[in-house]
Symmetry: C2
């Protein structure tokens, strides 16, 4: 910066200090603008302050007068400074006063690396994150970007892109025995998003309550509740939801909708018995009701072929929600809902944000190429092997504790010794870097005294190499908790 060539007024040094230009690569104009903004926002130039005439400031800072007039002009145009005939340029009376916002608030945002999962991950509902199909997904996105016509870059269909709806309908028909045409499918961000759309539709159709499995996945209950549907808990046993009690609860409350996991009850693990499958459909028809089938991990079954979706039995009564979240990962942000025609018009789809068209077309390609089903087959093989290792480890470490609900999915239930509280075990396990969940967490109603206390043990994201050590640590945690009488 050349030294000023004229004598400086008394304030000259001050202006150089108040408006430091720095030296980085940015044009002088930008640096001056930044300096003025900073001085105003930090209160160095308080509301009402006069700025020096442009000629004076130019000389003081050693820049051309054009730089100053341009900068003043821009800031005046934006209302950041004001210029009045005869009184020069000044900071408006109501200048922004934002004490150091950028530097303080930034430190409060969690940064990458703060998210972690425990080394011994027995958390339920978590897929095998090590084997998320990253490369195949990148290829699917690339393919979508390579092939999507220009005109489709500006189209957003609230039901989803036709390619995605067609691919999902084909997949569900083929793999889940659903009865779904593309027109029945809505592309969503996941089961929760699909559920939110459906319960909004139910609310708009006059529903005020919804029957839910107890225990069951709490997040979907919450979504129903925040849409204005009161959840009505119905007990579950080893044949799935108790349909007799469901019918009684429906009679009692007038509830005509039910949220169920017929293929693999979460978390108890039963498949809904064939008699109950029929009975629940009969109930739905009798009361002009709607069943919402949370089809969350039915692809993973180890004793027989996957149980078909209930939706195929009564497509006019059953809405189905599914996603990639439990088979790939939540980060893909994709799922689907199949919504019966009678309900679809009541679902406020236009007001809901949908996954990006690019993601949807990537999904279509990922399904169409067979990549999804290849991924699911490989995952099933891995889970089956891991499940075998897990069963052997439990047999060795905790031979007396019943392990149930392990014929399918990625989790099992472990009953605890009498008087040993699952909460205490969870905490002891956590201290050993073992994540595990418990049944109490999924109950819709507080457990009665004497109710089953059990752990819910997921193995989706458990490293194969750590199965034995994880079970040994969990066993140590259980043994470390003293049994409490009447606890």
């Amino acid at each position: 910066m050349p030294p000023p060539t004229v004598p400086r007024p008394a304030t000259a040094l001050a202006w150089e200090t108040l408006l430091p230009l720095g030296d980085g690569p940015a044009p002088l104009r930008d640096r001056l603008e930044r300096a003025i903004r900073d001085a105003v926002q930090t209160g160095v130039l308080p509301a009402g302050s006069a700025l020096p005439p442009s000629r004076l400031l130019a000389e003081t800072l050693g820049v051309s007068r054009w730089v100053v007039t341009e900068t003043y002009g821009q800031l005046v145009a934006e209302g950041f400074l004001e210029a009045a005939v005869g009184s020069g340029t000044r900071v408006p009376a109501h200048a922004p006063q934002v004490p150091d916002a950028a530097s303080t608030a930034r430190t409060h945002t969690p940064l990458r690396g703060e998210y972690r999962r425990p080394a011994f991950d027995l958390g339920p509902g978590i897929p095998d994150l090590r084997h998320a199909p990253r490369a195949r997904w990148a290829a699917a996105v690339r393919h979508a970007l390579d092939t999507l016509p220009d005109a489709e870059l500006m189209v957003v269909d609230p039901h989803g892109h036709p390619l995605a709806r067609t691919a999902v309908a084909d997949y569900l028909t083929r793999s889940r025995r659903a009865v779904a045409s593309p027109g029945d499918v809505v592309v969503t961000h996941g089961a929760t998003d699909g559920m939110a759309a459906i319960v909004a539709g139910l609310r708009a159709s006059g529903h005020r309550s919804i029957l839910v499995e107890d225990p069951g996945w709490g997040r979907l209950r919450e979504v129903a509740a925040s849409a204005g549907l009161t959840p009505v808990p119905v007990p579950v046993d080893d044949r799935g939801i108790d349909v007799e009690r469901l019918v009684a609860a429906s009679d009692r409350t007038g509830a005509r909708a039910a949220l169920i996991t017929p293929a693999h009850q979460f978390p108890l693990g039963a498949a809904l018995s064939s008699g109950r499958r029929e009975a629940i459909v009969r109930w739905a028809r009798d009361v002009d009701g709607v069943l919402i089938e949370d089809d969350y991990d039915a692809e993973f079954r180890y004793d027989r072929r996957p149980i078909a979706a209930l939706q195929g039995l009564a497509p006019e009564r059953v809405a189905l929600v599914g996603s990639l979240s439990k088979s790939m990962a939540q980060a893909f942000g994709l799922g689907w809902a199949v919504i019966p025609e009678g309900l679809r018009s009541r679902v406020p789809l236009a007001d809901r944000a949908r996954p990006s068209v690019l993601d949807q077309v990537a999904l279509a390609g990922f399904i169409g190429s067979g990549d999804l089903e290849r991924h699911l087959r490989a995952a099933r093989t891995r889970f089956k092997r891991r499940r075998g290792a897990l069963l052997a480890a439990f047999e060795r470490e905790l031979p007396d504790l019943p392990l149930t609900g392990i014929a399918a999915g990625m989790h099992a239930m472990l009953e605890l010794p009498e008087g040993v509280a699952s909460r205490d075990v969870r905490h002891a396990a956590s201290a050993l870097d073992v994540a595990v969940s418990d049944l109490a967490r999924y109950r819709a109603t507080a457990g009665r005294p004497g109710a089953l206390d059990a752990l819910v043990i997921g193995y989706g994201n458990l490293s194969d190499a750590l199965v034995d050590e994880a079970v040994a640590r969990l066993a140590a945690a259980i043994r470390s908790v003293p049994a409490r009488r009447g606890a």
Copy 2:
């Protein structure tokens, strides 16, 4: 298929016909299952029909008995068939009757290729789809997939991923002169999604109405209305929204929120004057109000540097919404909202679906690498050149009609000859494969007699090679419409 080895009963031929196995590559068990499902769902086997004993069907179809018992077993487990002791296997009384759903409904879904834009695309609000940064975006997604830690595949923060929030805050601070830290940013699907979140927060804070520019972008008005805020129109002139009349409307209705486009009014094209910038912020402070700044195309300015976001003047009063939709394309499905701290806690973020974590991390990389700003610079250069060609073409073809609001953005306003109705011109242009919009479409209130009738002419997605031809066709359309006295 080997021939059956025992004499056939009378119905034998019928069962072969009723349950055609086909021959594809699928296992026999799957083919039989499919055949039975199809027969039931199409009504070939009506509710209550008995199926033949497994031994008989096996012999009839020439398959092993195991195939039949397995298939019956699976379908009974799913409730698709029922088995009662002593009465064999049958179709339940309430069998699904879905007459040909898959084949009929599929044809109603629009298929790829039905979406098109006119060859001469003068639609406003549409970016240059030919130059969407497809390859750079694919690289950003690939990079996100290559680098995202496993644990983050299962994390969804309702405000957005910290990497994306940080990148957006940096971008807005640097390019839009916003005052935003990552904690102030919410990652959205776009401006509409951000607006929906903000108006839900306003509604929850007790707001019942919102002042809107008239004319203005209708979609955001609709979003406010469907959240329960009554839009209160305020006129716009060549210095942006009329703040005196806004204050009067606020006094009259109690509205304390306003939706504005200060950098480049849509569709009239003015920048909000510096006096009005100050005045509207003063109003917001006086009434404890909120300004929502729709910052939709401010990056593209041809007469000076982009006008800074109003949000930087009063970050505690101004919420800003922006997106990639008008600079890249809607298909990317990404945007942002900066929400003042006082309002943020009232915005029901947990209930709203966010863009996938993968997309958000891709956005962070796309901004962090400088790709977004490189894309914007290249787009500005292209638009500036195209705008020059457009001005020249209008000067040549329609020298008498005023073209205004063209100092920024990707659209301009063309006043029509007296008595020539814009609606007629739109229709005539459409017949020449020219898309164009008109002012009436964006009015919140019906135009008074004698109100300005004008076309809104976008050039974002107009092919450079077609500028002259597009303007020539538009001029022909205008000339083809007879002026109507008193129309």
